[in-house]
Symmetry: C2
Subunit: 367 residues, 2 copies
């Protein structure tokens, strides 16, 4: 068996220790004679798995008691619809920070559904090379919430602060954040947010699971005519089991949370590791004339590092040689080209080091 | 490692051979150095897995070329909303056959969303002990489609024929079927249907995947203002990859399809096995004064066999002793009580035989 270094932007690398544990239990979970996949979601065994996962996540992120944790389906893209369908039924506008492709998709979905949209700030004019500063953010007078994307997976642009969400009159509105590609990369002050959501397939677990962390007072705002499975309150009341949840993905997420607690030592430790990986790679890029990343230093993502080669005619060779060297999935997103190294939690420091060594060697040979 | 017989109604037993194959490949898929869970859904490796799964399913069910196969999230319960949101935007009413708890949920969701609903027939008056006969079904003049539940997982009631879906004037409307708990139990004439959907967690794979088989002419009917991920046409055009699909569940479904083809020998063979399992169990129930099942012979489900004990005070002992004997998850649904043995594809004939032996012995000791 071989495990290569996997820099995929998502579905992304999972900790080898988590996959080993899952493999060990795959046909027979702790002597029960069946797989977790084969358990009723209402069985005591699965309920214990589900509750343990939530408890570990609450501990890792220090989630306050007045927040509910939901384990859902549909990905961040379904949240693009669910958020306005829950939070705008009382009127008002959805306010957005536009920072790249994922923010744009969230904005487009709210518009598609016919909701009033207000662009509170955009980094489009600077080519999404830096995030809007707090003083550049201007909410509408009727803002019902402010939505932003903490980390743009494709652009490699990350917020280095948590925006305040205030209307012109100073009143505060809920802050909603798509944290798909940065949640669990480090500690987080959940109390600053009204709602956080994240597709699992980067730092949480396999694709097919979506995490939502929502403040109690934002439940029960949905209008009556939306699908039952869109109603955060119905989902919260049923413990994310209005219908059968993605049980195996939930279990795997729980194993990832245990790994973060026990093997890594919590999110402070994880953040330190992530900082070292990213700093090493950006330093190598900046020190080279061969590689380049356009993002302002303060807003460089620690999770997704896009970079281009000085001569794009070398892209193909770079990809072929890196793959042959066991460095997988370095191709940039099809919409932007170039390269992208995603350094999620499960990518070890040795993986980042191996990538840097390869890049240095490649530049020497082709530069 | 122990593998017990698992009669869970869902998430349900998976073939041991499928789980063994998944275990073998879990950390390193065919020497690629990563798990299927860690692959980009747009990578050549995963696209090959996804296409193979669809091709095998098409072969198993002989799906005509003018039908699209979608691999989605959200379960049958999300289809309760998606179907009317796609098929009723041109007006008309949703017509239903009411045959039990799952049909009722589908009806309730269409009503919740504000669509006109017409009950074309109901088995409520006979206690859902037999399905409506064709001559009892009366569609509305403005019927846009007829929805029914092929197999009621909780009630153990199954259709023994495919209803015709005709308005009073004789014009045909699309037939929509929830096949969550009976798909792949045997051959199927897909051409009779406009749309078939099924949650995966019975005969297809793990929870978190939903299969939709939809006729081409029913695409593109959705109104503009529904979520992108609800639009069958958008999903079909993107090959079920508008956003990241549940890749690992899709892969496992593919392994189940391969098992059906290669290990079982196709759906005719599967149907014969399922018939033998169910017949043996119903025969044992009918031969006993100790066990009873109330469903009309022709409509008894081959997948879900609910039964009651002559004395419900023995329920607890039955459940404790059966579990101790390695016969898992025989408790009936919390809404109806009693027992339920689900005999999905992955439950082997030896499992049904072991259950019957246990039941006979239990009746002898307690009868």
């Amino acid at each position: 068996m071989t495990r290569h270094y996997n820099f995929c932007a998502g579905p992304a690398a999972l900790p080898t220790a988590v996959l080993e544990r899952a493999r060990e239990e795959l046909l027979d979970y702790q002597g029960r004679g069946l797989s977790v996949m084969e358990m009723s979601h209402r069985s005591p065994e699965f309920v214990a798995i589900a509750e343990r996962a939530e408890a570990d996540l609450r501990e890792l992120l220090a989630i306050p008691d007045n927040y509910r944790v939901l384990f859902l389906q549909g990905g961040a893209s379904l949240q693009f619809a669910m958020v306005p369908m829950n939070l705008l039924s009382g009127g008002g506008s959805a306010n957005f920070l536009h920072t790249g492709i994922w923010a744009k998709k969230a904005i487009a979905e709210a518009k598609r559904l016919g909701y009033p949209v207000h662009l509170a700030a955009s980094s489009e004019t600077n080519g999404h090379a830096r995030v809007p500063r707090q003083e550049e953010i201007a909410l509408a007078a009727d803002a019902a919430y402010l939505h932003y994307t903490a980390n743009e997976t494709i652009g490699g642009l990350a917020f280095d602060y948590t925006p305040a969400a205030r209307r012109p009159d100073g009143s505060e509105v809920p802050l909603v954040c798509d944290m798909s590609s940065s949640i669990l990369a480090g500690p987080l002050d959940v109390s600053r947010f009204g709602l956080i959501y994240a597709g699992a397939q980067k730092n949480i677990g396999p694709a097919g699971l979506t995490l939502v962390i929502v403040r109690d007072d934002l439940l029960g705002r949905a209008a009556g005519g939306i699908p039952t499975l869109f109603d955060y309150q119905a989902l919260a009341e049923a413990g994310s089991m209005v219908n059968t949840p993605p049980t195996f993905a939930w279990y795997l997420a729980g194993l990832v949370f245990q790994w973060l607690k026990d093997d890594i030592g919590g999110l402070e430790a994880m953040a330190a590791i992530n900082a070292r990986k990213a700093e090493a790679l950006y330093t190598a890029i900046d020190a080279s004339e061969f590689y380049a990343n356009p993002i302002a230093a303060a807003n460089r993502s620690r999770m997704n590092v896009p970079f281009v080669l000085a001569d794009e005619r070398l892209d193909e060779a770079f990809l072929a040689e890196s793959e042959a060297a066991g460095l997988l999935n370095l191709k940039g997103h099809r919409s932007v080209g170039g390269m992208r190294a995603s350094l999620y939690n499960a990518v070890p420091e040795a993986g980042a080091a191996a990538l840097i060594d390869f890049m240095t060697d490649f530049a020497r040979r082709h530069g």
